[in-house]
């Protein structure tokens, strides 16, 4: 017996899958064990990610060969700083969302599909963990597909018309994206004979001059493939419908984590597999930068005119994923760190906002922003948490949104692009214009209509968003360890 921490990443993925496959059997035969099982496996995920983060921080990154086969032949897992960072983000937010979801889903879903929901949720988590740790392009493709299917499925599990349509649209577009990713992978495999990211990075500079077209085509396909999955600006069309229609915990996970995991995969492919010289010759990062700037402005502007609160949050997500891509495409130390930080921060903010919106919908049935007048008196803690999230979105100092904006702006200035700072500040102002009226109306709006019927809010739901709100404040005031860790991450990547 020799079980040291190096086995943990694969144990995480395998155990999540195991739990996912156990879930339908358990739900059929012993219904009461299903929820504890999913909670236990997510808690295991979170704890082991924490342990892994500590171990990697202490011992340094390590590689793991599946089946004992060394890289050019076998699948390699690379557990570097980036991977543990992503693992921790996904596991903690995922745990909170499902703890919240246990209450909300009982309310919103039919009883017979709840077990399947858990299966899909665990599959989604397993595939996201897989994308984070794998160092093999094809393996990544497989995990991307698993996550796409399970993400679609947790939207369509609520069999309403909007859900089905949104998830079909999402499925078709995301399959197209996967096709693009597969083709791009094939292009790279064709000229290098490798699928391993590290080996690709070694071989590509040598074959670059011989096969320029292949590299070009692969770049284009990767941009479009990951772009459509991560909802980069002109390819975002599926996102608002999908994230609006899904059940609230699903929206939180989809908006907070799932689009981020593709952005992280984009980072892995573009900054780890491709050598940096390519971007000097081919302006693909400039395109992404341009698109992300457009995304930031477009998302904010369109969010301003939305009526449905979840739709507004979904459009806001488009703007926020723009920030992440902005950081990545600038390719500077601080900018990439800012993008990664925004993955973490936005995961917290947006899941909290979606969960808070979920509580509002759960207890009052209100979805329209205009109806939320005076809600702050009825649901003080929920709206208080929502306020923290909104302030963080605007980038008020003291919340974590400020820190990532700070990092991104300084990263842009490091590279001599002051116009990006203008974009960031402008989008902050726009965020203020559409988030603040909600908060103000909720707390200070004078309600003329008859009293609202407020259902009882389960404590678990409330505690989960309060926990996230606390996290927002905590990482807004004390981000130093996180920033130091990200500094290490970025140094390892670039």
């Amino acid at each position: 017996m020799n079980l040291n921490y190096e086995h943990l990443p694969v144990i995480i993925v395998a155990l999540l899958l195991l739990a996912a496959f156990l879930e339908p059997i358990v739900y059929r035969h012993k219904k009461s064990w299903a929820a504890p099982l999913v909670i236990a496996s997510m808690a295991f995920f979170a704890l082991s990610s924490l342990y892994l983060m500590a171990a990697v921080n202490y011992h340094g990154p390590f590689n793991y060969y599946l089946g004992g086969w060394a890289p050019p032949f076998g699948i390699e897992l690379e557990i570097d700083y980036l991977a543990v960072f992503l693992l921790l983000t996904f596991s903690v937010i995922g745990l909170i969302a499902i703890v919240y979801g246990l209450q909300d889903l009982k309310h919103g879903l039919k009883d017979e599909v709840l077990g399947w929901y858990f299966t899909l949720y665990l599959l989604l988590m397993a595939s996201m963990a897989g994308i984070s740790v794998t160092n093999d392009l094809f393996n990544m493709y497989v995990f991307v597909e698993i996550s796409a299917i399970s993400a679609c499925a947790i939207i369509s599990i609520k069999e309403s018309r909007e859900c089905i349509e949104a998830s079909l649209k999402y499925l078709i577009l995301s399959t197209l994206g996967s096709g693009c990713i597969l083709l791009a992978t094939a292009m790279l495999y064709m000229i290098t004979g490798h699928l391993n990211i590290g080996y690709l990075n070694d071989v590509l500079p040598r074959v670059m001059s011989h096969y320029p077209n292949n590299i070009l085509i692969s770049l284009g396909f990767f941009v479009v493939g990951y772009g459509v999955k991560a909802a980069l600006f002109p390819l975002h069309v599926w996102l608002p419908d999908a994230h609006t229609a899904a059940p609230s915990p699903s929206s939180a996970v989809l908006s907070g984590l799932v689009i981020k995991v593709y952005a992280a995969a984009f980072l892995k492919v573009f900054l780890k597999a491709y050598p940096r010289e390519i971007f000097l010759e081919i302006p693909v990062m400039e395109i992404v930068l341009f698109l992300s700037v457009l995304a930031i402005l477009y998302g904010s502007i369109v969010a301003m005119v939305q009526e449905d609160i979840k739709k507004m949050l979904a459009y806001s997500s488009i703007a926020q994923i723009g920030y992440v891509f902005l950081g990545f495409s600038l390719m500077g130390q601080r900018a990439v760190a800012g993008g990664l930080l925004h993955i973490f921060n936005h995961a917290m903010m947006k899941s909290m906002l979606f969960l808070a919106a979920g509580i509002i919908i759960y207890s009052t049935g209100i979805r329209r922003i205009r109806d939320m007048k005076g809600l702050g008196v009825k649901l003080p803690l929920t709206m208080g948490a929502f306020t923290i999230g909104a302030l963080s979105m605007v980038g008020i100092p003291g919340t974590n949104g400020f820190i990532s904006k700070w990092q991104l702006a300084l990263g842009a200035l490091d590279l001599g692009r002051p116009i990006i700072v203008v974009v960031i500040l402008l989008s902050s102002l726009l965020n203020c214009l559409y988030y603040m009226p909600i908060v103000i109306n909720a707390f200070f709006g004078v309600k003329g209509e008859p009293e609202l019927e407020i259902g009882k809010v389960p404590g678990v739901m409330l505690y989960s968003i309060l926990f996230l709100g606390f996290g927002i404040i905590f990482f807004g005031i004390y981000p130093a360890p996180l920033l130091a860790f990200l500094q290490k991450t970025v140094t390892a990547i670039l």
Binding site: F138, Y141, V142, E145, I146, A148, I149, C152, A153, S156, E159, R161, I164, E165, S167, L168, L171, I172, T175, L176, S178, G179, L182, L183, T185, A186, Y189, M190
Partner: protein, 126 residues
């Protein structure tokens, strides 16, 4: 005048050519057909193109299957792409099945599998 060299390149790499044609057919089907089931078929054709490219990377003229046997010293093909594509096919099958089930659900709600019709029902133009 078509350059003879280009032609011969095309001829030698006919599987890539076929893959491109398949890709275009699939994409065309996805774009031009409003019928959702046809869309899914187009999607499958597209994926087939990707699989063809991938498999053809490992193909060697005259090579044999890579099975450990007598006379192992012959040229054999790269088994990796085939193995990978097997996985890819599994994924494609599951996506197709899932998409079809969604279409069935959609048909229950709208009474049609025509995307244009559904869009028309959803977005009413005065």
């Amino acid at each position: 005048m078509i350059d003879i060299e280009v032609l011969s390149k095309l001829f030698n790499n006919y599987y890539y050519f076929a893959a491109i044609i398949l890709f275009i057919i699939g994409f065309h089907t996805m774009l031009t057909h409003a019928n959702l089931i046809k869309k899914i078929i187009g999607m499958n054709i597209m994926e087939t193109a990707a699989f063809l490219i991938f498999v053809s990377i490992g193909y060697i003229e005259g090579g044999r299957a890579p099975i450990l046997d007598e006379g192992f010293d012959q040229i054999y093909m790269n088994p990796l792409p085939q193995a990978l594509i097997l996985t890819g096919i599994v994924v494609a099958v599951s996506v197709t099945a899932y998409a079809l089930s969604l279409i069935i659900k959609l048909y229950q709600h709208y009474g049609t599998v025509d995307a244009d019709e559904i869009a028309r029902i959803r977005s009413y133009k005065p």
